[in-house]
């Protein structure tokens, strides 16, 4: 029963949405929008579930004074501060103001702490791109050498230096200019590879959706087959 009911719901909803793609007649016309709204409603309840789980996990760590409990204390404190600031619209000029409106504590705390922290995490990417490229582009094998050459052409071709370096090439050899080579690499071999992957992904999505609709795929419901 615990797996049969979700499978039945998946089957009905999946088949209805496929039909809605081709049938403009009511109620199929608006089915997609309705299901999106229902999903949003479910997701609202999920926020409570998520918040509850977060508190449960971290309060347990704090009370047990386990390893790294201080991080959990900071998490719980931050969560509660933002929750109170948002729920009671602290600092808002009037109750009609949105909780993330100008002047609210929520916005002030978000802009002063969360946004810079988020930017810090994102900026780590620049260093990681450098370290990952260093490892990937070491010309140890033929494939890695090919990758190194292609990446170098694209990197240089995207800069003004690339134009300057090969601007002297005569018109018949124009295709050898680094900027043109860079564009060719991106729009021919790279795009062809990406499209092949996209075709595979599209078929994979169709296959997985069909397996879900037909009830063949059920391991995500806990129904691991022997």
């Amino acid at each position: 029963m615990k797996t049969q009911v979700p499978i039945l719901i998946t089957m009905i909803v999946g088949a209805s949405l496929v039909l809605a793609m081709f049938v403009p007649h009511s109620p199929f016309r608006t089915l997609d929008e309705h299901f999106s709204v229902w999903f949003d409603i479910l997701a609202c309840f999920a926020f409570v579930l998520g918040g509850g789980n977060l508190l449960k996990v971290h309060l347990r760590k704090v009370s047990a004074r386990g390893k790294d409990w201080a991080y959990s204390a900071v998490t719980v404190a931050s969560f509660l501060v933002m929750l109170v600031a948002g729920l009671f619209k602290l600092g808002a000029p009037s109750w009609d103001t949105d909780f993330i409106g100008d002047g609210t504590w929520f916005k002030a705390i978000y802009d002063a702490t969360f946004a810079p922290l988020q930017a810090t995490m994102f900026s780590l990417l620049a260093f990681f791109v450098a370290s990952a490229s260093f490892r990937a582009f070491r010309a140890k094998t033929r494939e890695a050498t090919l990758l190194l050459v292609a990446a170098s052409i694209i990197l240089v071709g995207r800069t003004p230096l690339g134009d300057t370096l090969t601007a002297w090439l005569p018109r018949p050899l124009e295709f050898l200019r680094i900027a043109n080579l860079s564009n060719w690499l991106l729009s021919v071999p790279n795009l062809a590879g990406q499209r092949a992957i996209m075709v595979g992904i599209a078929l994979g999505v169709i296959s997985t959706s069909l397996k879900l609709i037909l009830g063949i795929e059920r391991s995500h419901l806990g129904g691991v087959r022997e």
Binding site: L54, M121, A132, I197
Partner: protein
Amino acid sequence: MTPDAWFNPAKSNLFVIAAILVAGFVWSIQRARAGAPIKIRRIAGLDAIEEAVGRATEMGRAVLFVPGMRDMDNVQTIAGVTILGGVARKTAEYDTRLIVPTSRSLVMSTAREAVRGAYLAAGRPDLYSDEMIYYVTDEQFGYVAHLDGVMVRQRPAACIYMGPFFAESLILAETGNSVGAIQVAGTAQPQQLPFFVAACDYTLIGEEIFAASAYLSRDPAMVGSLRGQDFGKLVAMGAIAAGVLIETLRVVTGSVALASLSERFLRLFALNF
């Protein structure tokens, strides 16, 4: 077309293509169920999962599983949770600690069901605990910060990333690499694949993430769906070859009839949304 019509003729091309593909899938599944032998090629990334869990067991460290940054309405997340079931089965058999932080609470609930089922199927329900799978935050970089913290502090021996990933893919994979974890990744986000390929030991590329559940379970119906996928690829290859041939002949001959055929052929694949 009136809004009360029961069929949108502008989408008849899509309907025909969808019908052909679905028929191919259903036929392949039926054939596999009837016992037709189907060979599956080796997927190194999926074979590596057992190696990764074994390594974690030997080192006495945990396995970190990340199911991506989207909710259960994303088919990649479903595929990720399905693979999680297979990973959990292994961690249950080897008695290895599994950590699954999620960025959506619905994913947390579903992942708990999948992991509980896997521990039950492995005959080790006593090892299962809800605390293995927990919610962190919906915020992309807040989630990444937590995962990085878990990797640096707990130093898992294996990091498995399966699902939809975005800008965080390289941050996660490089942090995992820096702590010496064996890493297996899989996503259907083509823009993130190069990052995973560069920083992880094994990467499931595109469709392989959707083939994982069939590969791991070897269930005939599931394996049959893989052959259905191959049938779809055959149709796509045929269409591409036909399109190239028609267009090349049109350019070479300048024929009006071929120009008309080429236009009709292109219309066959128009989305008409």
